[in-house]
């Protein structure tokens, strides 16, 4: 098995039954939230994980583009641009 195949078998934590959860796309400015997991378990979620959107990490919305999409998030010291579609896969717990 190649390393890529091995890494492709990683399971990303799926979010389940907690109160006060919402998706990262619904986050308001100045309101950091803790990442809990992803809505689905596939390569896109694995890539978001590798980009630093790891469960337990705190993410914050920095700004939105002129037409509200895409958005810039601060996570783990870097600013990452995501479209609403990808951001809505990330489940967060508001603090």
């Amino acid at each position: 098995m190649t390393l890529a195949e091995h890494l492709g078998q990683r399971q990303c934590v799926a979010a389940g039954g907690r109160a006060k959860t919402c998706s990262l796309a619904e986050l308001g400015c100045d309101c950091p939230a803790k990442i809990i997991g992803f809505t689905s378990d596939d390569q896109i979620s694995r890539r978001l994980f590798d980009l630093g959107f790891a469960p337990g990490q705190v993410a914050a919305l920095v700004r939105r583009a002129p037409m509200r999409d895409p958005m810039v998030f601060n996570v783990g010291g870097s600013e990452i641009v995501l479209r609403k579609r990808e951001a809505s896969r990330i489940v967060v717990e508001q603090q």
């Binding site: 190649t2 990683r10 896109i44 994980f49 010291g77 870097s78």
Partner: protein, 646 residues
């Protein structure tokens, strides 16, 4: 122009081989440049290194090692073609015929947690690993800190801090490359499953007393303005407008200087070369033709200077962010915008930059649009034609009219490129899964003078090379076609031309040349656009390279009026057909020509690269045919509209 990216330099497999692995923007290319001295392009935009680069590094004992700069990747779980390259090279390095002796993993100290995830993945491979920790200066500036020795202890691999390729860091890396056997290795590789790797990273960071950096105050202050929903967009368009104003206004005096020089040289050649045909070859073909293209060197240099300033400062990523939504309407993503933006230099790097797109369908759709972006080869043609259309001192408010028209043409190209990408995306069909778009916003950095100088120099060199090879060759062939068959005195007498009147003789020869025959043969196609046979020859010859159009017209004009070729061009009249005696370059014809050049795919190298990147001739053929058809149609419309206004 800087198009033709050099193929990777292959060195024998004998010396030890090391690969640089790291995420985009971790400083790989800068380190690669300091190690090898080989100039690969460095930039602040994630994903600049798409081609494969290899270079040689000389160790202290004068033996050398091979360094391979891999494309930036956030993960070894590949999604896009260039990430696949990384996975393949690393996998082949363990078993294949290109073994790797060691991996140098670059980690950005400002986002260490994420970087450790990549390190954990790389550590699954059996290779010896050394980590280069970059941007520790930025970490400190933003109030963070880390104990580098403790990092080495906790991960079991050696960490060497290197700031922007500084001498001391590079020297200690170089020293360690001489002794791979001594590289430490942990007993067990770290875990890769999400929760395991998160715990591992936490424990490593804790034991290295890592203090995360605060947000970059400078960058967020600048972004507050440059990415403001209203001001950001306004500034974006103002920046783009200014871009073209600068290209015109700053380059003009230098351009005039070069023009005067070539006119003077032409005069010297005519006066001093006794053999008539040789004097014509040197003065008309080489000096007026090739020199006519060389005149645009200042513009090319400025274009690349401005692009590399935008890229090196980090603004290009912001532009992609601002434009992502617009690209979304065309069914594409912000990274496709960057591929299209690189096509403003030349379609070839633009097409190669599509390798960062994960979806094959997006790649093809972007490739079909990319050649419509105004590349630097169109610049000479636009400058020449716009100069004939409006005088240099005409202004629209604060804007020079010439710069404004140029901006309009770039905008037309960009909009057409997006529409065409949208259209092809529709035809090819939607991609099955919604593929993700993500991009890291780099901090604003002062562009490095050396990087900019290299980029401008490479562009100028590529332009000069093109001028002295394909453009010169085509120009000489055209000179032949324009000056043959030779006319005897008897021929001239029969036609009623005084053989002592050199200008009349020349005009007669050209008007009855082989080229004129070809130009007239295709005139049914181009007649509706108002082109005469000379323009037809120019358009046909520009298939070799767009700039040849300028050198062709330059030749014809110099032959008709050696003292003032510009006036000769402006006053050129139709020699046959329905419009005999009327001026050729009427506003409507010039507009039609400009629009024709916006759309036509007159570039053999672009077709070649499309073939290479898609693996079939199907797409280059489709691109050539649809752009040719579109060019004719839009030029015809432009003629109609401008003709109606006049």
């Amino acid at each position: 122009m800087s198009c033709h990216a050099e193929p990777p330099i292959r060195v024998g497999t004998a010396p030890p081989r090391f690969a640089l692995v790291g995420s985009p923007n971790a400083g790989k290319t800068t380190l690669f440049n300091s190690l090898t001295g080989l100039r690969a392009k460095t930039g602040n935009y994630p994903g600049v290194t798409v081609a494969r680069y290899e270079g040689r590094h000389i160790l202290d004992d004068d033996s050398h090692v091979t360094i391979e700069d891999l494309p930036g990747t956030y993960s070894l779980d590949p999604m896009s073609p260039d990430e696949q390259v990384v996975a393949t090279v690393l996998e082949a390095g363990t078993s294949g015929d290109e073994p790797l002796d060691g991996l140098i993993v670059l980690l950005d100290a400002t986002n260490l947690r994420r970087s450790l995830g990549l390190l954990a993945q790389v550590q699954q491979l059996p290779h010896p690993i050394t980590v280069v920790l970059t941007f520790t200066d930025e970490l400190a500036r933003r109030g963070g800190s880390v104990d580098v020795l403790a990092l080495s202890r906790a991960t079991g691999v050696r960490f060497i801090p290197v700031i922007a390729g500084d001498k001391r860091g590079v020297a200690s890396l170089s020293e360690s490359m001489g002794d791979v056997a001594s590289w430490p290795k942990p007993m067990l590789p770290p875990p890769t499953d999400p929760s395991g790797v998160a715990d591992w990273a936490t424990s490593v960071l804790d034991s290295a007393s890592f203090r995360a950096p605060g947000s970059d105050k400078r960058t967020s202050r600048i972004d507050g303005v440059l990415l403001h929903p209203v001001w950001g967009t306004v500034i974006f368009f103002v920046t783009m407008m200014a871009f073209f104003q600068v290209i015109f206004s700053v380059a003009a005096p230098m351009q005039d200087g070069i023009e005067t020089l070539f006119a003077w040289l032409g005069g010297v050649a005519r006066a001093n070369i006794p053999v008539a045909w040789l004097s014509s070859l040197v003065a008309d073909a080489l000096l007026a033709g090739v020199g006519g293209v060389l005149v645009f060197l200042p513009q090319i240099a400025l274009l690349f200077l401005l692009i590399s300033l935008l890229e090196g400062s980090g603004y290009l990523s912001r532009a992609a962010f601002l434009m992502d939504r617009v690209m979304g309407w065309a069914g594409l993503e912000g990274r496709a915008f960057v591929a299209l933006l690189s096509s403003m230099a030349c379609a070839i790097p633009g097409i190669m930059a599509t390798r960062t797109l994960p979806s094959a369908k997006d790649r093809i759709a972007t490739m079909m649009g990319a050649p419509l972006m105004t590349c630097s080869a169109r610049l000479p043609v636009y400058v020449l034609l716009i100069g004939m259309l409006v005088p240099g001192d005409l202004r629209f408010g604060p804007l020079g009219a010439q710069g404004a028209i140029m901006f309009g043409l770039y905008l037309l190209g960009a909009i057409s490129a997006m529409l065409s990408a949208w259209f092809f995306k529709k035809i090819i069909g939607r991609s099955g899964v919604g593929l993700p778009f993500y991009m890291e916003m780099p901090s604003y950095r002062l562009p490095r003078g050396r990087t900019i100088a290299v980029s401008v120099w490479d562009a100028c060199k590529a332009f000069l090379k093109k001028v002295t090879s394909i453009i010169m060759l085509t120009t000489i062939i055209l000179w032949g076609l324009l000056n043959f068959p030779l006319r005897s005195d008897a021929d001239l007498q029969r036609a009623g031309i005084d053989s002592r009147d050199e200008v009349a003789v020349k005009a007669f020869v050209i008007d009855n040349s082989i080229a004129a025959g070809i130009g007239r043969a295709v005139s049914p196609v181009f007649e509706p656009l108002g082109f005469d046979w000379r323009i037809n020859v120019g358009v046909l010859s520009s298939l070799a390279a767009r700039e040849v159009f300028v050198s062709t017209l330059g030749q014809v004009a110099a032959a008709e009026d050696p003292d003032d070729p510009v006036a000769a061009l402006t006053n050129m009249t139709h020699t046959d057909g329905a419009h005999v005696g009327e001026k050729v370059f009427t506003p409507s014809t010039v507009a039609a020509l400009l629009v024709f050049f916006v759309y036509a795919l007159q570039c053999m190298s672009t077709l070649g690269v499309m073939r290479r990147e898609t693996g079939t001739w199907k797409w280059p053929v489709i691109a050539f045919v649809y752009m040719g058809g579109l060019a004719w149609l839009m030029a015809w419309l432009a003629k109609l509209v401008v003709g109606g206004m006049a």
